[in-house]
Symmetry: C2
C-alpha cells in the first residue's frame, strides 16, 4: 500500500504521524499541535518551537539577500514563541549547505541571524553546520519562557470572544508576487534592473518580517490575557479555522474590518487580486491572531496595532465571512500547503 | 573575495561564524562550542543540543531502513545530552522530504523515532514537516535537564586525570565499510542478496547506535564526576584533541588500551585496515570519552563498560599516542569532515 503525502496535506500528515504520540514526562504540559510546546521545569515553564526553511520551497536565493534570510529565519521562529504569549530567550541554528556557498555568503547569513538575536534579546547557543548535495536548508529551534500557566494556546476561545489581529494583512503575499514578477522580467531581459524602491513596504514585509513582541508586551502591561492565540503564517482563514477547531467554536469574520495597508490595496488592484483574498489566503504576514473577552473591547479598540475583526460563536453556528455587501460565506482554509507544489 | 568553506573545515567554520557571538541573557551558562548548551532557568539547568542529518551525506537510504534511521537520528542527539552528564527529557523533530516518500515510509521513520523516545524516556513535543526538492533532511533538537552545576563540559580536564572511554571503538566504521561493499556488489550483480547476519554486531553499530545512558547513570550512582566529557562521533583522535584544546592540556594515549570488539578486529584484518586507525579516525561510535581524577581508578577499573586508555599531561608535553611497540606518535585529528566530500 502506498499513500501519497499530498493526499493528507501538511496538517493532516502531522496529525497522522503524531496520533499515537504518548508523552511520558509529567513535565510535558503541551505537546505537538500548537505554535510551540510547553515544558514545566520545576515551576518555570519553558516554551519550544522549531521551523525548517528549504531553498526552492520557502525561499528563492535569486531575490532573497542572505542577511534578510538569516533575520527572517529567526523572526518566524520567535513569532511562534510570542504566539504563546511567551518571551523567547535562546535559539539553535542548524544549516545544511552546498560547497558552492562561500564563507562570505555564510557570514552575511549569520549577520542577519545575529541582528535578529540582538533586536529581540535572544542568545544563539548552538547548532550544527553540515553539507548538502543540493540547496540550503535551515532549521531553527527557539526556546522561551513564560510565568507558570500564563501561556496561551489555540484551544481556549469561547463563544462571544472578540477576534483580534495585529498590524495589517496581505502585504507579504503581494510583496512575494512583486519579487516573482521582477524575477521573471529579469530572466527574460537580463539588462533590466528592477526598481523596487517604490514598493519598499510590501517587499519588506516578505523579506524581513518582524514578530509582534510589541503587542505581546502591551497585552501583558494591560493585563489582557487572550483566550487563544496563533501567528498568521499560512493566511488569516487557515489560522482562524485552527483556533475554531482547537477551541470547538464557530466564528463570524467581518470583511470590512480586515486591516490592509494602503500599498497592499493599491498593489492588489494592480495585480487584479482581491485584497481580502490576499489577507485570507496569502500567508507569511507573521501577525498575531487572538481572541479576548468582550470586557476588553474598549481598551483594545484604542490600541492602534490591533483590529477587532469579528467574534467567536457556538460551534453549530458555523464559520462565516460576512462580506462588505452583507453576504455570508463559509470560511475555507486555503492556506499555503507545503506539499501542493 | 571568496573563501571556500572547505578551507576552514567544519570546526573552523563554526568557530569563524560564532567568533563575535555575544550572549545577552545572564541565564546562558554555556553557549556554542560544547556537546550542548546550558541555560539556567531559575535554578534548574536546561541542556540543549541539535543535529542535522542529510541524505547522501550522513545516510544512504539504499541500506538504511527508515525505522533505524529514525531511531539513530534521536540516539545521536541524546548522546550529546548524555555527554554533558545530563538527562534528556524532550525532543523536536523537523524533516524536509520529497513527494517521492510515501506516508507508509514516513510512518516507519516515526516508529523508529518513537522507539528511541520510549527507550530513553523522552517526549516528542514538536517539529516541522515540509517538502524538499531533493533528498531527506532531518533536524532534531534535544532538551535535557541537570542539577545545578552538575553538567560536564569539554574544558575541565587537568594534567594527570585518567582518560576513559566507554564500550568499544571502530565497529561503526567497519559496519559502514561492510554496507558500502555490499551495496557495490548489489549494484554490479543485482541478483546477489547480501548476507549480513554474520556481521550483525558491526552493522548494528552503524545502523542503530545506543547512547550511553547506562554509563552516565553508573557514574552518578558512584559519585564519580568526570572533569571533562565528549561523545565520540568523529573518531577518538579528534574527540580527544577537542578535550585537550578546550582544557589546555596534553595527553598520552596507549594504543594497547583502546577497546575493540573481536568482530571489529576480525573485520579490520579482512579489510586490511589497522583496528587502531578505525578507532582513532572512524567515527560514529557514539561512545563517551571522559576524564576523571586518579582517585577513581580502582572503582572505574572494575566497571566492565569503561576502559582507561591514557592520561592527561601538561600542555607543553604534547599530545601523543604510545604504540604497542613503544613508539610515540603525535596525535592528529583525522575525524570525518563534512566538507571534504
Amino acid at each position: 500500500m502506498r499513500t501519497e503525502i499530498s493526499s493528507l496535506g501538511e496538517f493532516g500528515l502531522i496529525d497522522h504521524l503524531t496520533r499515537n504520540n504518548e508523552t511520558a514526562n509529567a513535565g510535558t504540559l503541551l505537546s505537538v499541535g500548537d505554535d510551540a510546546a510547553v515544558i514545566d521545569q520545576f515551576g518555570r515553564q519553558c516554551v519550544i518551537s522549531t521551523d525548517m526553511l528549504v531553498e526552492g520551497i520557502h525561499f528563492d536565493l535569486m531575490y532573497t539577500p542572505l542577511k534578510h534570510l538569516g533575520y527572517k529565519a529567526v523572526a518566524v521562529n520567535l513569532s511562534d514563541i510570542y504566539a504563546m504569549m511567551a518571551t523567547p530567550t535562546h535559539i539553535t541554528v542548524s544549516i545544511a549547505l552546498s560547497n558552492k556557498v562561500s564563507v562570505e555568503a555564510l557570514e552575511e547569513f549569520y549577520e542577519g541571524i545575529y541582528a535578529a538575536c540582538e533586536r529581540y534579546g535572544v542568545d544563539l547557543v548552538g547548532g550544527d553546520t553540515t553539507s548538502s548535495r543540493s540547496g540550503l536548508v535551515i532549521s531553527i529551534t527557539a526556546i522561551g519562557e513564560v510565568a507558570p500557566d500564563k501561556y496561551v494556546t489555540r484551544s481556549g476561545a469561547r463563544p462571544n470572544d472578540l477576534i483580534c489581529v495585529t498590524g495589517d494583512l496581505g502585504a507579504a503575499y503581494l510583496g512575494l508576487q512583486l519579487l516573482e514578477r521582477e524575477k521573471k522580467i529579469f530572466l527574460e531581459n537580463p539588462g533590466v534592473q528592477p526598481d523596487l524602491q517604490q514598493q519598499a513596504y510590501l517587499v519588506g514585509r516578505i523579506l524581513k518580517p518582524e514578530p509582534r513582541m510589541d503587542v505581546v508586551e502591551w497585552l501583558r502591561e494591560n493585563n489582557i490575557m487572550p483566550t487563544s492565540m496563533i501567528d498568521v503564517s499560512d493566511g488569516l482563514s487557515s489560522e482562524l479555522l485552527h483556533l475554531c477547531n482547537k477551541s470547538d467554536t464557530g466564528c463570524v469574520l467581518h470583511e470590512d474590518k480586515i486591516p490592509a495597508h494602503e500599498e497592499t490595496r493599491a498593489m492588489a488592484m494592480q495585480f487584479g487580486l482581491s485584497v481580502t483574498t490576499c489577507a485570507l489566503s496569502g500567508g507569511e504576514d507573521y501577525e498575531l491572531l487572538f481572541t479576548i473577552g468582550q470586557e476588553h473591547y474598549e481598551r483594545i479598540s484604542q490600541y492602534a496595532h490591533v483590529s477587532v475583526i469579528g467574534y467567536m460563536t457556538e460551534k453549530d453556528q458555523g464559520r462565516y465571512l460576512v462580506t462588505k455587501s452583507g453576504g455570508k460565506h463559509p470560511l475555507t482554509a486555503q492556506g499555503w500547503n507545503a506539499f501542493d507544489q
